[in-house]
């Protein structure tokens, strides 16, 4: 027989194990090796705090009283995880992007960072959760007393009370130790989460072990147990449609709204991807938890004396069979369920209480708040610790007052229906941009009042708070205000009745008031960010600050984040802005970032207020917000982006069109060249052939004729050779195989040579300024002359003026020398200007007999010499500019 002392020893060592687990997890996380801590499995197991002592013990009692109805409590969350995962995912995304610390923070943040709303949610959450904590204490105390009662020993009430106090104190201690180690929730409570995951495993194993023992050890196998179930009244599906529907809805809503569920689901979430695993693993866990509930209930009802509490069958059945070890395991399972719930719930509530109630009050009391001396971190930490103790204490007080008499499940459902009041405001805020703060107040207020009247107050039982008269007749005899028969709706299950009315009025008031009120700019901004959380990667800008405030901000941030974190943040931001040191400009971006960081410690509303105190009041910033974040501004930004895009596209299209035109023209030119080169080769060939035939075949030619025809053949042969030379020259230049012979000289030298070689006859007048031409250059003088010759010959060939004149102008500028060749003809048509340097292009047809290679060769030569040759438009005639680096520039290279 297990003595109370053994039980206490087991209990203490179990707690010691939990301490070790939590401590080790914290250590590992601190060393940055938390990879395995962040597995989806741990996340899923931490969700199992949904299964509290109510589930562990109460589900069997529930089944013993109401048959299969207990399943509804599991079906709701499973439906949410499977069917509404998108909503959960959205909540998690919002929680991470906005650094949300609690459900109150989420709602307050969504509705314009309204702290009043945060206070409302916090109060309601505390009221809704307190009975639940009491319930956990009660379950631990009762399970203790079961053990203590064996054999034949009646627990005294005072002992129960002292047990409850000890348990409460122990839980508060554990939670304070691991729940408030660090301030920023983004650092997460690894230790607590790990301990909870371990407890989740323990309670599952415990319940499965008891179940297996009951089915195979007591019930005589699966078939026999099934027969027993069939024989009992539990197997029948006496379902009440509205109650089943109501309960499924209620458990689903609670799953999303319970502060402790929000804590593990959203705040402690490390990776969004974990949700995918949890979406099937969590329902599977729930299924395992519910697997043996009915067998235990049925066997318990058979085995135990009539009148024994079915809520404790999980313990009493193994004990009655003399299985102390199993009972001990079962006790640990229940203990785990209770403790994990209390720990997480008190962490969640303490965050809410300290961020939404204690901190704002403290900020107000200390006047200009953040800028006075004193460590804010210390205050926040203290507020949380006090809150944790307060919350647990409140549960204890509730336990003392209620006397622990009511059936466990009933309290659980009252709690569920209380926090379910958040649902319209929560879901509406995430999905509907039109939801307003006033609407949220209306919905929450009406819902809370109705829940209070119809469910919470009557839950204490007749004559505790509400007199039996009020319950039966209504207040002051107004019968349509009866808590269980509101508006004359009688004959419905009281729970369904209360949930129906409170949710209907809550959602209705929220919706109608939202429609008839206008959101403030801040609400609009936050609403857009919440509803479109998957589109917005970063927040629009909110604050504008001056340089002088950076230091104040730093002082404040150090107090809240701690000096090293704050300095790292400021240094990082300064570096990002391209500044040295630790004081970045308080840009809107940075203030937004800072506010988010602070929000992780003290909640969005408080962080907003603190930054606002330094940067200059919320009034101004709201105006700025209006300008920046107004939807129209966003849309204008969008459309201007689109415009820029389309302009860019137009530009690209134009470039493509130009390139295409050029390619087409070049292709035409190449085709033309094949004809051209054929023509250029065949024309001299024709003369050669014709005259050689004449010389061969004709008798009686005079010596003059012979001489003349022979010299025609000779000239044409030279013309052919020149053409082939040009082609080869170009090919060599293009392939880069040309060898250059650099030497020093003056431009005058090169130009004089070119003029004498290029000019034929006196028709073309050439104007030069030899003084300007005395520029020293170091280049391949022969190649440069070739270019000049080409240009002079071109002027000679193409200048169509009556008295053609070519001006050669030399200029020096910025280390380059330019030589312009400007004639007085009609110049090159604009559409040809881009093509004249291409191979085989010729201006006009045929006129001068060139093959169209000259300028192409010039361009290649100038490229080799490190200079350029370009057409110079707008000079009143054809004008070419040759540029080349002058000698000093060359020498410098």
């Amino acid at each position: 027989m297990a003595s109370l002392n053994v039980l206490i020893a087991v209990c203490l060592s179990y707690v010691a194990v939990l301490f070790t687990v939590a401590f080790m997890a914290e250590r590992v996380a601190m060393r940055g090796q938390a990879h395995w801590l962040r597995s989806p499995l741990v996340y899923t197991l931490s969700l199992s705090i949904y299964c509290t002592a109510w589930t562990f013990y109460g589900a069997v009692g529930y089944a013993a009283r109401s048959g299969l109805e207990y399943l509804t409590i599991y079906i709701g969350p499973s439906l949410v995880m499977i069917g509404w995962l998108w909503l959960v995912r959205k909540m998690v995304r919002i929680g991470r992007s906005q650094r949300i610390t609690s459900i109150a923070d989420l709602i307050s943040s969504r509705y314009g960072k309204s702290n009043a709303l945060g206070v409302c949610v916090t109060l309601l959450a505390v009221i809704g959760t307190t009975p639940y904590i009491a319930l956990q204490l009660q379950s631990v105390v009762e399970s203790f007393s079961i053990f203590a009662a064996e054999p034949g020993f009646r627990p005294r009430p005072e002992e129960n009370v002292s047990t409850a106090l000890w348990v409460a104190a122990g839980l508060a201690f554990f939670t304070v130790l691991f729940g408030t180690r660090n301030l920023d929730v983004n650092e997460r409570h690894h230790g607590v989460v790990m301990a909870i995951a371990v407890e989740a495993v323990v309670k599952l194993i415990a319940l499965l072990a008891v179940g297996i023992f009951v089915v195979w050890g007591v019930g005589g196998g699966l078939a026999a147990t099934m027969e027993r179930i069939d024989a009992s009244s539990l197997g029948y599906w006496h379902t009440d449609g509205s109650r089943w529907g109501g309960l499924i809805f209620l458990s689903a809503a609670a799953f999303l709204c319970l502060p402790r569920m929000f804590q593990v689901l959203v705040v402690e979430n490390d990776m969004e991807a974990h949700l995918r695993t949890a979406s099937w693993a969590f329902p599977a866990y729930l299924m395992l938890m519910s697997l043996f509930v009915v067998p235990i209930a049925v066997v318990g009802l058979d085995l135990m004396p009539a009148g024994s509490n079915p809520d404790l069958f999980v313990l009493t059945v193994p004990l009655s069979q003399g299985r102390d070890g199993l009972a001990m395991l079962s006790f640990l399972g229940g203990f785990s369920s209770a403790t994990s719930m209390v720990i997480v719930a008190s962490i969640a509530l303490s965050t809410m209480v300290s961020n939404h109630i204690v901190m704002p009050i403290w900020l107000r009391l200390t006047g200009d708040g953040a800028s006075i001396s004193g460590d804010v971190r210390h205050v926040v930490m203290l507020a949380r610790r006090v809150s944790i103790v307060g919350v647990v204490l409140l549960g204890y007080v509730y336990y003392r007052i209620s006397g622990g008499g009511t059936a466990l499940a009933a309290i659980g459902l009252i709690s569920f229906s209380g926090v379910a009041q958040f649902l319209p405001v929560l879901v509406g805020g995430i999905l509907w941009r039109g939801a307003t703060r006033i609407g949220a107040f209306a919905g929450l207020g009406v819902g809370a009042v109705m829940w209070f009247w119809c469910l919470f107050l009557p839950s204490f039982g007749a004559d505790v708070i509400l007199s039996a008269g009020v319950l039966a007749e209504g207040p002051f005899g107004v019968s349509w205000l009866r808590p269980h028969g509101l508006f004359g709706l009688d004959g419905v299950d009281p729970l369904v009745h209360g949930v129906f009315w409170s949710m209907l009025f809550n959602a209705g008031a929220f919706f109608v008031v939202s429609i008839f009120t206008f959101p403030s700019p801040m609400e609009r901004l936050q609403g857009a960010q919440f509803v479109n959380v998957f589109n917005h990667s970063r927040a629009p800008q909110g604050w504008q600050g001056g340089r002088a405030q950076a230091e104040d901000l730093m002082i404040m941030a150090q107090r809240i984040l701690g000096p090293s974190d704050a300095q790292a943040l400021f240094h990082d931001e300064a570096r990002r802005q391209g500044l040295a040191g630790y004081l970045p400009d308080p840009t809107a971006d940075f203030l937004q970032r800072l506010e988010r960081e602070l929000a992780g410690s003290v909640g969005a509303a408080t962080a907003h207020a603190m930054v606002g105190q330094i940067v200059g009041g919320t009034g101004v910033s709201v105006q700025e917000l209006m300008a920046v974040a107004d939807e129209s501004a966003q849309m204008m930004e969008y459309s201007s982006q689109l415009e820029a895009k389309s302009e860019e596209l137009t530009r690209t299209a134009r470039q493509l069109r130009e390139v295409n035109e050029k390619l087409t023209q070049i292709s035409v030119q190449k085709d033309a060249f094949l004809s051209q080169i054929s023509h250029e080769l065949r024309t001299p060939m024709t003369s050669v052939r014709a005259f050689s035939e004449i010389l061969r075949d004709t008798d009686g030619l005079t010596p003059e004729e012979r001489g003349r025809y022979a010299s025609i053949i000779h000239d044409e042969a030279i013309r052919l050779t020149r053409l082939l030379d040009d082609l080869l020259d170009l090919s060599v230049l293009e392939n880069g195989q040309v060898s250059l012979n650099f030497r020093r000289g003056t431009l005058e030298e090169a130009l004089s040579h070119a003029v004498s070689a290029g000019r034929q006859g006196d028709r073309l007048a050439i104007r030069r300024d030899r003084g300007d031409e005395l520029v020293e250059i170091e280049t391949d003088m022969d190649r440069l002359s070739q270019v000049f010759i080409n240009l002079i010959a071109n002027a000679q060939k193409y200048c169509d003026a009556e008295a053609p004149v070519l001006r050669i102008v030399v200029r020096r500028r910025d280390g380059t020398v330019s030589v312009d060749f400007i004639d007085n003809g009609s110049g090159v048509e604009q559409d040809m200007q881009g093509l004249i340097f291409e191979k085989f292009s010729r201006v006009g047809h045929h006129k001068a007999g060139g093959a169209g290679l000259g300028l192409a060769i010039c361009r290649e030569i100038m490229a080799r010499l490190g200079g350029t040759i370009t057409y110079l438009p707008g000079q009143g005639g054809a004008a070419f500019r040759v540029t080349l680096p002058d000698r000093s520039a060359m020498a410098a290279q």
């Binding site: 023509h679 003369s687 014709a690 005259f691 035939e693 004449i694």
Partner: protein, 122 residues
């Protein structure tokens, strides 16, 4: 009265060669070396045969040919087209434009003489 051949060609050496060959054979040779007013010259001179180069300054030989064929007076005039481009496309264009015969440079003197005799006799 010997028959007249009008040579429309811009390359002086080729004009001289053709002129030499034809005049030795007893033809009267007239020369025109510009595309722009070639059609008018043909109309004015009314030659028995035209030797027309395709690549002329100012106007393409094909265009001149088409104009000549469109006029009643010169619709049936024998015209020998000369081109320095040997591609099949040029032959097609010559036929489409209504050339009586088509010849690619460089030609042999005997060929030219034979073609001229054929065209003028037929």
């Amino acid at each position: 009265m010997s028959k007249t051949v009008l040579v429309i060609e811009d390359e002086p050496n080729i004009i001289e060669a053709i002129g030499f060959i034809l005049s030795r054979d007893g033809w009267r040779v007239a020369v025109h070396s510009n595309g722009v007013d070639a059609v008018e010259t043909v109309r004015r001179r009314a030659p028995d045969l035209v030797i027309l180069d395709v690549m002329l300054p100012g106007r393409s030989g094909y265009d001149i040919l088409r104009d000549l064929r469109a006029e009643s007076g010169t619709a049936d005039l024998p015209i020998l087209l000369l081109t320095a481009r040997g591609q099949s496309r040029d032959r097609e264009m010559a036929e489409a434009s209504g050339a009586s015969r088509f010849m690619t440079k460089p030609f042999s003197n005997a060929e030219v003489l034979e073609a001229v005799r054929d065209l003028a006799g037929g």
